[in-house]
Amino acid sequence: MLAYLIRRLWQMVPTLLGVVLLVFVLFKYFGGDPAEILGGLNATPEQIDAIRQQLGLNEPAWFQFWIFIKSIATFDFGKSWATNEAVSNLFATRLPATLTVMLPILILDVLLALPIAMWVAYRRGSLTDRAIMVVTTVALSISFLVYIIVGQYVFGFLLGWFPVQGWTDSAWRNLIIYAPLPVLLAVMVGVSPQTRLYRSFFLDELGQDYVRTARAKGLTENKVLFKHVMRNAMIPIITNIGLALPSVFIGSFLIETFFSIPGLGREVLLAVNRSDYPVIQAITVYLAMLTMVINLVTDVMYKAIDPRVVLK
């Protein structure tokens, strides 16, 4: 187990180096000149030169790459160009808001999609099954934007059930007053694709021989479904949740923009609009690291669910 972990961590190094290289090349050779972005419209050539000197832009490319790697390794990306806020501080203050909204969404999505998917897979070909498949297809083809625009208008403005937008410093008030509407809308959108996906996983398992065997030896349908089918279908489902986890950390930038939630997603979007390179670079590199770690954790979890899985 330990040897496996060490080897997997070792294998991450080239990938991570690739991500760093990609970000570096992208911003160095395709992006605008940082000195001109920082200097603004009225900067004199001397000022631009001074900024170049300060950022090390006059050094050779390999040295700049080395500076970049050092800033990643020391977790010091400096300050945001737009607000002069330390990037690390930016992460620390924006992440809680993102998690307050995104974690309930992820949990509710899974909790709702699992039983629906199992039900329609069990009743495959029935009217319910086909109706749900049609509804989800149509629901999927409407843009997320429309759900948010209409939902905010109807529930927040017309009916007044929820505040249209807002946020406070108190985590508890955020969770019970300001988070419910965004969570509700995101879950409405997220349940459709989840259900379709989980349905296909359950369908795969329901066709297996062990299901027939379990029924033949007289197990109740509940036992067959919840004990045998469920456990086997968990492997692809866990993979899928693992894949969805990294995006939880940038949050749904659309939700955060619409509801003025001061989270990471909104911050990334602001950074893109302001050409705030340090923020974008930092978040890209760290999220890549996080994604790799989550993938590793997912793989280890397979072992817990399915003893047949051999980690190698």
Partner: protein
């Protein structure tokens, strides 16, 4: 030998010849009623898009043909607003021509102005699907927006398909060091969450239709790459490829003339899924201002205008953009699903 070369020999194409993969797929496709219906809808949209691209319809989408926020025709014109009348000052107008320095020129200017005919535009009270805040026809905008959104989606899918196929073919067929390199590249692109990758590219490349196509194409090739690679690995040691090698076909010919046609159905199915995904991404990017420019219209820019209009009760732009998008995307997804089932039943269930 002579027997084979005999030109008078019976042609090998006879009734016993089994149908090809495309003919078989088409037969299966025709049996799928939902698939046929969605195909018809998609073809109708294609005609509409072609007409719009050729300026046959929706050419004047930027013209302000109606009154601002003109309601749809079936609702009838908006009731006149009760505007408070400004009280006219009583008493005679004060004659200030004695001290007005411009007074002597008024007559001359009026004379000169007559040389220019100003067409008296009558703004329509209602439009078929209503008007936006400038009085532009929402129907024309929706048609033009369909053209741009679908165009971006299809073009980006072509870029991604080209990249994914080329890299997947090289990686799967050649293997070894080349394969390792592309696998590394794939891992790098997969390690960054998709939307963040799009943002990073958008931050660097700027705005515009071409840029959106490029960004989506450059970030969206990974899924297709993976599948094409697997197919090439499977096919490279098959007999027909070995035979091609034996008769001296070059590596490039073996890859793209022999193997590629045999896996083209897999690529086609994947591409259909990409189009749907990219259209949705374009809508969101345009909404956020990272997509098409202000001189163009797409479903995304329509939705972003619609948000402010909805609060004032002008719902028609939102509904039109949503309806066009919903019908097209649903039909296209169902068509892609049917094509997948017809072409490769093994892929069933793939989202």
């Amino acid at each position: 030998m002579t027997a084979i070369l005999n030109p008078h020999a019976a042609p090998s194409v006879g009734p016993e010849r089994s149908e090809g993969v495309w003919a078989a797929a088409w037969r299966r496709y025709r049996a799928d009623r939902v698939g046929v219906l969605s195909l018809i809808i998609v073809v109708m949209f294609t005609v509409l898009i072609a007409a719009s691209a050729l300026d046959l319809v929706a050419k004047d989408w930027q013209k302000e043909v109606g009154v601002p926020n003109a309601p749809p025709t079936f609702l009838g014109p908006a009731p006149p607003e009760a505007t408070g009348v400004i009280e006219q000052p009583k008493g005679p107008n004060v004659d200030i021509s004695a001290i007005d320095p411009l007074a002597p020129k008024y007559a001359e200017w009026a004379e000169r102005a007559k040389a220019y005919a100003t067409p008296d535009t009558i703004k329509a009270e209602t439009l078929p699907l209503g008007g936006d805040r400038l009085g532009r026809d929402v129907l024309s905008k929706a048609i033009k927006g369909t053209e741009i959104s679908v165009f971006v989606g299809v073009l980006a899918a072509l870029v991604a398909t080209f990249l994914g196929t080329l890299l997947g073919a090289l990686s799967g067929y050649l293997g070894g060091k080349v394969g390792d390199f592309f696998e590394w590249l794939y891992n790098v692109f997969e390690a960054v969450p998709g939307i963040l990758l799009i943002f990073a590219f958008a931050a660097v490349f700027g705005r515009g239709i071409g840029t959106v196509v490029l960004i989506l194409g450059l970030t969206g090739w990974t899924g297709l790459y993976r599948q094409v690679r697997a197919e090439f690995m499977k096919h490279r040691s098959r007999e027909y490829v070995r035979s091609a090698e034996a008769i001296g076909a070059s590596q490039v010919a073996r890859m793209f003339k022999h193997i590629l046609p045999n896996i083209s159905h897999v690529i086609l199915v994947r591409m259909g899924l990409l189009v749907v995904g990219f259209i949705k991404s374009e809508v969101i990017l345009s909404y956020l201002g990272l997509g098409v420019g202000i001189d163009d219209v797409s479903w995304g820019t329509m939705l972003s205008e619609a948000q402010a209009e909805l609060i004032l009760g002008y719902w028609w732009q939102l509904v039109s953009a949503t309806a066009f998008m919903c019908v097209f995307v649903t039909a296209f997804s169902l068509m892609a699903d049917a094509a997948r089932d017809a072409l490769d039943p093994k892929l069933r269930g793939l989202e």
